[in-house]
Structures are given as C-alpha cells and as structure tokens.
Subunit: 374 residues, 2 copies
C-alpha cells in the first residue's frame, strides 16, 4: 500500500536531471535515508534501479574478481548474492543454515576468522523467511581480517532499525516499496567512508559496470554534479514524499508502531495454536512467517482471503514451499485496525480449511495492544 | 514535456509485479514498443533502468570478454559504448569521425570487413550532435562476417522511424523520456531472434550482470513469468499511457509531425543566415543543432530564453562545446505554434547578443508549413 500523497508527488511535473531543484530533492532524500539507515555516511543515494539493482551495485563495486567473497546463506536472497558473486568471478564461500535460521555470534566470528574473506555479505532482513540477522559479530570479525561487509536491508529499511554505523556495516542497500512505503523503482544505497576509500584507493581492477559504478555516481550526486545518467525524476519525487511521511510520524514512532503490530499479530497466531517459523528475537517487524499447519493448503487460505477480502498474503517458496505463510504488515497498513482485521480473517480462512484454531487469538492480540509491550 | 494523462497514469494504485494485470500492461507495452521500433521481435521489454542502463544491458549481454567490439564513434554516447566495452574486457576498435559527421556506406562496409568484429555498435540518433546514422550498410557487412549489431536509439524512438527489422539491427535500446514523451525511468529494449539465439546457444562466458541478464528477463517477461526483480510498476503505467497516446495519434502521423516541425525550424534557421551543424539528410527529426554564430555567447542566448520565456535549450559539449546549440522539439511541443514561438524568440535572443539575423526566418518557416514539404 502506498500513501495517496506519495502517488500525488509522482504526478508533479518533472525537472531536468541536472536542475538545482532536483539536487535539492536528492539532498533531502540523502538526509532521510541516512536517518532510516542510522548512519552519517557522506555517500547515500537512491540508485536508479530496483532493490536487486542495489544488490548488484554492492557486489559489482565491492567484490573484486579473484577475491574471496563469504556469504551467510539461509534464504532466497542470499542465493542471489552468491549468484552475483560468481558473475564477478570471485571465489564464493557459502556458510549455510536452513532457511529462516540464523547464526550465533560465535559461528559468525569463527567462519570469518577461518576463511579470511575480502568481502562478507549477509541478509539483515530476509524477505523469503522473515528472519532478522544482527550483523554486529560479522562486522567486528570482518574488520579484524580487513574485509568489507555488505548488508541486504531490502525489507527492513523504514520499518525497523538498521543501525548501520553502530553495527559497523560498510555497504547497505534496500528498495523503495517495502518499509519505505513507496512504489518500486529506486534502491536506497549507502557506503561507509572506509568502503569508499577502499573503492577509490585499493580496488585494483576496473569496476565492471558503468551504470552501477559508485565512483561515477559519487561525481553525479556529490559536489561535482557531473552528468552520469538521466535519473528517474518522478520516482525521486515519490521517495522524497515517502521519507517526508516518515519524518512527520517520527522514525522511532514508526518503528514502535511496526513492532507493536508485529507483536500483536504473533500473539494472536500463537494463541490460536500455530507456530512462527522464525524464533522469537529474530522475527522481522514487518514480515511474519507463521508455519503452515499440517494438512492445510496455503493456496486455499490465500484464495479465501483474496476472494473475500482482497487481502494479499504470500506463500513460502524455495526451501519453505508449502511450509509457511509470508504476511507483510507495513507502512499505512501497520495499524491496530488493519492488523486485527487481518488476524480475524486469517483465522476464518484457516478454519474454513479445517484448521482447529484454539479460541482466544483476537483477545491475545488485543491484550498486546493494551499493554503496548515489546 | 510530459502529457498530463501520462502523469495521471503514474498516480494509479500499483499492483504486484507478478499480478496478471501487470503482465497485461507489459504485453501492451511490448506491442507498442515493437511498432515504434519497427520490428516483430518476440523479446521486447522495458528494462527497469534509464537509457544508459539499456546501453549497459546491450553491451554486457552481447559483447563477450576477449571478443572484438567495433564502435562507430562520432559523439558522446559512442564514447560511453566504448567505455562499457572496455569494462567487458573486449578488444574495442573505434572508427572515428568528428562529432556530428557520419560514415558513407562504403566506409562502414570497409571497416567491418577489415576488422571482422564479433559485435558492432553505432548510435543511430546521437543526442550530443543531432546526427542520424542509417545502419543498413553496417548491418549488411556485420552479418557477412557473423557479427551482431547494437543500435543506440535513445533520442529517436517514437519521434522518427527506426526500422529495426528492415535495417537488420540485432539489439536496440532507448529511453522513456525523449521521443516517447514519458518521464525517465525505463529503457525500451528489443532483441532480434538471431541475437537471442546467439545469447542462449553461442555465448561462451557467463553474462556478468544479474540485473541486466536478458536470459533471466526473458523468463520473467516471457511465458514463464518467473520472478526476477520487482519492476517499477508506476513507470510501466506511464509508458503504457505514453504509448497509447502515440497509438491514438498514429505513429506515421507522429513521425510526419516531427519531421515537418524540424523542417520548418531548420528553414527559419537557415533563412536568418545561420548554418546547421549536421548535414541535410542526417539531421534528427526531433533534435536540432544550429551552429553558434561567431562572437555570440551560447550561455547568454540560453539565459535570455530561459529568463524571459522559460524556454530550455541546451549548449554543445565535448567536441562541440561553444560550437552549437542543441534544441529539442518533440512530443507535445512539436507543434506549429510552439515551433514558431521558439524560432521567433530564438532569433530575438540571438539579435539581443548582436547577431545580425537576416530577415525572413518566420516567413521561411511558415512557408514550410504551407507546403507541408518533407
């Protein structure tokens, strides 16, 4: 769901891609994104591509041919990072867990100290599993061995804290259409001074992509305003408006709102006798993955919700095909009213398929709102 | 200038990137783009990137590492093709002309038969010079030596004929914001069956980019509808509406309208005693480059037009810095009224800077409309 005022912003007349007004917009976008990422980075832009374009930008700039690229892999988008690393002709080391699980700080540390990679990537918020991975131990160990750290923040940005600087991340990317509540089309992208220095001074081979070349983009969005490509102006208007909406609510309030609705939904799910796929403490604040109860068709439940209420929830895929639902509660829909409505109709759809839900789901969710607990 | 109804289309609520409605849109976009390109290609899409992203897609997919890449170079965007070819680690052969000139069919043929490249690229419509290059001789010679041909159509698509199939082009790309009259953000892209077959059967090395991988995109936009990236839905709405506007006018009518206004403007320019930089027969139909008269400041002329009338014309850059104006007359602005207004105010601005314009510019332009000559 996109805020009406964000749609309105897109219908405003465009200016040129070298117009001072456009650079006012990009400056405001940078400030807004830095707040969401939790960073003071100088290089923060919206890439003229969708989230996967941001991922490719990260890998193409910060993974050199022949270098060692370590990826913590427990979901679909980890696999995409691995694919991209291979295309960069890096030696890819893959540290696996079943989809939806994550690593202990000791496991992270041990893998990095053992492999001594040049670049490490992890998916902070994995869209395919609903799992959050805290990268603090990754960043600490990586920096000890002189490696850079890439964090995929596609689902999380704008809905839960990333804490880029505090965690010690070097490169992070996201998308415009999830936590930020805008239409898809841009990829927020931020680079630490340390990684930028590596790129300009230590990277040996030429960056293999022109469109995603961070050094050229730094000249365009930075002080020089040197023409690179023609940015999608209307999308920048949308992102600017979306970030304004976030600033008006206050980022901390927005985070708390998402967490509260997540907590209420999970309380309801567990009260009716279902389990969450991701362990408590690692669940995203805006994407929930309840396990599919045995004998229930996820397709039938999804169809019930779509046909009767226009509610669109997703199923699992890859390792989680037929094992979980994937339910986003974010942006304008992360409200008590919408969350309770969703929970009620979800239970109804499950019961219609023969699931013996325990009573009390709605009460459990309501109770969570009453205490506003975390 | 963007049509108001195209802006309106962008403010429509988005659907999912795997929604059947979205694929109806992409199918209509394909049909509309094929008409503009003059092709019956099966693979025609809008890339989720701006025009330069289309250029990178062409080079990354169809220029292999270690292969021979011949570029006909007489403008800024030719240089970008060369840059991208080098990033693909190809051996780049550059056939130079001064900016704004083009090659005879014999010169094209001779260069290709001599060099026997694997891939040839040329810029059909060069934005930096206003020059049109007809690629027929390039395509014939290239196919004789088994090479693929890439044509940059960024400025031309939707304003003048490309004749992709008739010319024998293999790969062409464009942008959404020039001849098609939409906001920037998508890159129309089309591939001949021959080039697609080369890509799937003969290319030896892995495509080095995931985001711009044509084989993966063929699975997404083609029959399988297999998830690749999250397409910028709103931009597709815009392009779809822009193509509908074009279809309503009729493509041939639209081409004729651009050519007539180009002819009228050029007649006026020459009547006042100025010269065009590009020779007759090679001038684009929507971007004109009159030579800057000696002793006149292009900056002052541009400022006069902008300050007094909000008219935005560009100067030359690169080899043409201080040598030409670059004046676009396209889309909704390619009308008799707007063209005559522009001509009148352009003459006024030149006179204000001391240019001794001959009388009769407006009459010469009017005469062109009266005869509707080509």
């Amino acid at each position: 769901m996109v805020e009406p005022r964000v749609y309105d912003a897109m219908s405003k007349p465009i200016v040129g891609h070298l117009d001072p007004f456009f650079f006012e917009i990009t400056q405001a976008v940078k400030t807004g994104l830095n707040t969401c990422f939790g960073t003071a980075n100088e290089f923060t832009v919206a890439m003229s591509a969708t989230g996967s374009g941001g991922m490719e930008t990260a890998v193409a700039n910060f993974v050199e041919p022949g270098s060692k690229f370590l990826v913590f892999a427990s979901g679909y988008f980890c696999d995409r990072l691995i694919d991209m690393g291979k295309r960069q002709r890096a030696t890819v080391i893959q540290i696996d867990k079943p989809w939806g699980e994550t690593w202990t700080p000791e496991e992270m540390r041990e893998a990095i100290l053992r492999e001594k990679p040049n670049t490490v990537a992890y998916v902070a918020a994995e869209t395919s599993t609903g799992c959050w991975t805290d990268g603090k131990a990754i960043c600490e160990a990586a920096h000890e061995v002189g490696a850079l750290v890439i964090a995929d923040c596609v689902t999380a940005l704008g809905s839960m804290p990333i804490e880029f600087d505090k965690t010690g991340i070097d490169v992070a990317y996201s998308c415009s259409q999830k936590g930020l509540g805008c239409p898809p089309g841009l990829s927020p992208f931020t680079v630490s001074p340390r990684a930028l220095e590596w790129l300009t001074k230590e990277r040996k081979s030429q960056i293999p992509t022109w469109y995603f070349d961070i050094k050229l983009l730094a000249e365009y969005f930075g002080g020089a305003k040197r023409y690179h490509h023609t940015a999608p102006i209307s999308m920048f208007y949308a992102l600017h408006e979306g970030l304004t909406v976030i600033a008006e609510e206050g980022l901390e309030n927005r985070f708390a709102r998402h967490r509260l609705n997540r907590n209420a939904f999970v309380a309801g799910i567990e009260a009716m006798g279902m389990e969450m796929h991701v362990h408590r403490g690692h669940q995203l604040w805006n994407l929930m993955t309840p396990k599919l109860p045995e004998g229930i068709s996820d397709m039938a439940v999804r169809k019930h919700l779509m046909d009767n209420y226009g509610i669109d929830i997703a199923g699992g895929f890859g390792q989680l095909t037929g094992k979980v639902f994937r339910i986003g509660i974010m942006g304008v829909l992360a409200t008590k009213r919408d969350t309770l409505f969703l929970l009620e109709k979800f239970e109804e759809a499950l019961r219609a398929q023969g699931f013996k839900a325990k009573d009390g789901a709605m009460a459990a969710a309501e109770a969570m709102y009453a205490t506003s607990g975390s």
